[in-house]
Amino acid sequence: MNYWPLLGVAVIIIGFALRLNAVPVVVCAALVSGLLAGRPLPDVVALLGTSFASSRMLLLFVLTLPAVGLLEHAGLREHAQQWIGRLRGLTLARLLIAYLLLREGLAMLGLTGIAGAAQTVRPLLAPMSEAAAEKINPGLSDAERDELRAVAAATDNIGRFFGEDVFIALGAVLLIQGFYAQHGIDLTPLSIALWALPTAMVAFVIQSVRVWLFQRRLAHHAREG
């Protein structure tokens, strides 16, 4: 067993720990791992090129930017904030928990691509959350505003992740089924997907409680002044 390629992992850990620019760190780690595995340099460079070309769909979110940018220019955030500000019963926790429920439910139906940081969090959920939080404390500090946006993004991630595994025709379940099939164990996708349900419910409860605690902390800070 050749353990030397593990040094690529060390490059990543050191790079992220020293807070160096992540782009050269990642490319360096790829070159180090590839070379230490005994591949010649031209091969490693070619592998880097083809792997990059095959993961291009990960930049798809940039296509949302023109529409989102123009909407923000026309006052989308301001309108979302005014509207949420007028809705009396809509607290921050209720807004985020309702979004979590919707996101997790849609992911369970396999609809993961329709929401996300670029599609829904930046243009809609983040400004709405800010408006809901300003009802608790009109003078949010910059640090609190940052944390609030981060909580909105986290809620989106958690809803997506733990709903996705319940859907039978998506990556995770098919990967599990495929692995077992290769090793002579035949399972239906449904029998795998069902066992993701308990954790999906736990994830919903845990994130809801944390959102509620966050709201309580904001209210506490507002009272302390």
Binding site: F61, E78, F162, R210
Partner: protein
């Protein structure tokens, strides 16, 4: 027929447009950065086709361009452009347009949803409208174009202003936009260099004899840590299953395969919430939301991830050896 390849060309066009704008503003490093990335997107299908045909040079050229991007990235200062409009102008526009502003924003998820649900049945003259591969992503791209046109009509603004606003946001995100692709490429290089099997062998050496609980704990922690390293639970799953799950937990201790597979994968998902390596979920949102701390999203979800991991492990342990 609408195919994902056209979407890549559309992204390339937008990147080249951003490069041109930056060139006009004499931002040379930034212009070169978006230019190289645009060329990589436009030429990506050629690279993959040539590699299948056995010609390596396009792939090597693409690899060299990726290295050039890495050298350029530290030169790009995170700089947000001044907003194109004053906040009072935006407020006035917001009260004038009202709920009409939500319509284009909701079109993005709505059109994507329609394509995902109905795309397989749409055909013009017997030819399918959408290629079945990556249909949801093609739908998302179509939705972005539809939403841009709708926004331009609602706000009575020209389309090119949308492109200019998009370029402003792209510049604000900067090199962080590149990380998801690079980390996915790194995962592939790690896999091909045998990093996975090295970790599985190391984990196997730590394996305690005759204790099913500790073995399960090692498997769950291994899924978590390996996902943190690779940024993707899908890369961790086959390695940990082949190393510990299948030979020990299933064949030796009689674990139920469906439960072990499903909940083992979820241990990995908890790792995804904790790692900067999953850049598209953790670092890109932080850049999109203009957080000052690039690890802000990870910090916000860390305790949720740890809580879910513990709960998931306990449920797994109670169910899997029935």
């Amino acid at each position: 027929m609408l195919r994902i390849e056209y979407v890549y060309q559309l992204i390339a066009a937008f990147l080249l447009f951003s490069a041109y704008c930056n060139l006009r503003d004499r931002q040379l490093a930034r212009a070169t950065f978006w230019l190289l990335l645009g060329l990589l997107f436009a030429g990506g299908d050629f690279v993959l086709a040539q590699q299948k045909a056995g010609h390596l040079w396009p792939a090597q050229a693409a690899g060299c361009m990726v290295i050039a991007l890495a050298l350029l990235a530290p030169l790009l200062r995170r700089r947000s452009h001044p907003e194109g409009s004053s906040s009072s102008a935006r407020l006035a526009s917001a009260s004038r347009l009202g709920h009409k502003l939500f319509m284009p924003a909701l079109l993005i998820p709505l059109v994507t949803l329609l394509v995902a649900l109905l795309g397989a049945h749409l055909a013009i003259g017997g030819m399918a409208l959408f290629a079945s591969r990556q249909m949801t992503l093609t739908g998302l791209a179509l939705a972005c174009v539809v939403a841009l046109i709708a926004t331009a009509r609602v706000a009575r603004a020209p389309l090119h202003q949308g492109l200019a606003e998009g370029r402003r946001l792209l510049d604000a995100i900067g090199w962080a936009a590149l990380l998801p692709l690079l980390l996915a490429a790194l995962g592939e290089v790690f896999t091909q260099s045998g990093v996975g099997s090295a970790i599985a062998t190391l984990a196997g050496r730590l394996l305690p004899e005759g204790n099913a609980f500790l073995c399960l704990l090692l498997f769950a922690l291994g899924m978590l840590l390996f996902t943190v390293i690779m940024g993707n639970a899908f890369a961790a799953f086959p390695v940990m299953m082949a190393g510990i799950g299948l030979p020990w937990l299933i064949q030796r201790y009689g674990a139920t395969p469906a439960i072990l597979g499903s909940m083992g994968m979820l241990c990995g998902y908890c790792g995804t919430l904790l790692t900067p390596m999953a850049a598209d979920f953790n670092l890109v949102p932080a850049a999109l939301l203009e957080l000052r701390n690039p690890y802000g999203v990870i910090r916000a979800q860390a305790w949720s991830a740890i809580g879910i991991f513990i709960a998931n492990f306990v449920i797994l342990w109670l169910l899997v050896f029935r």
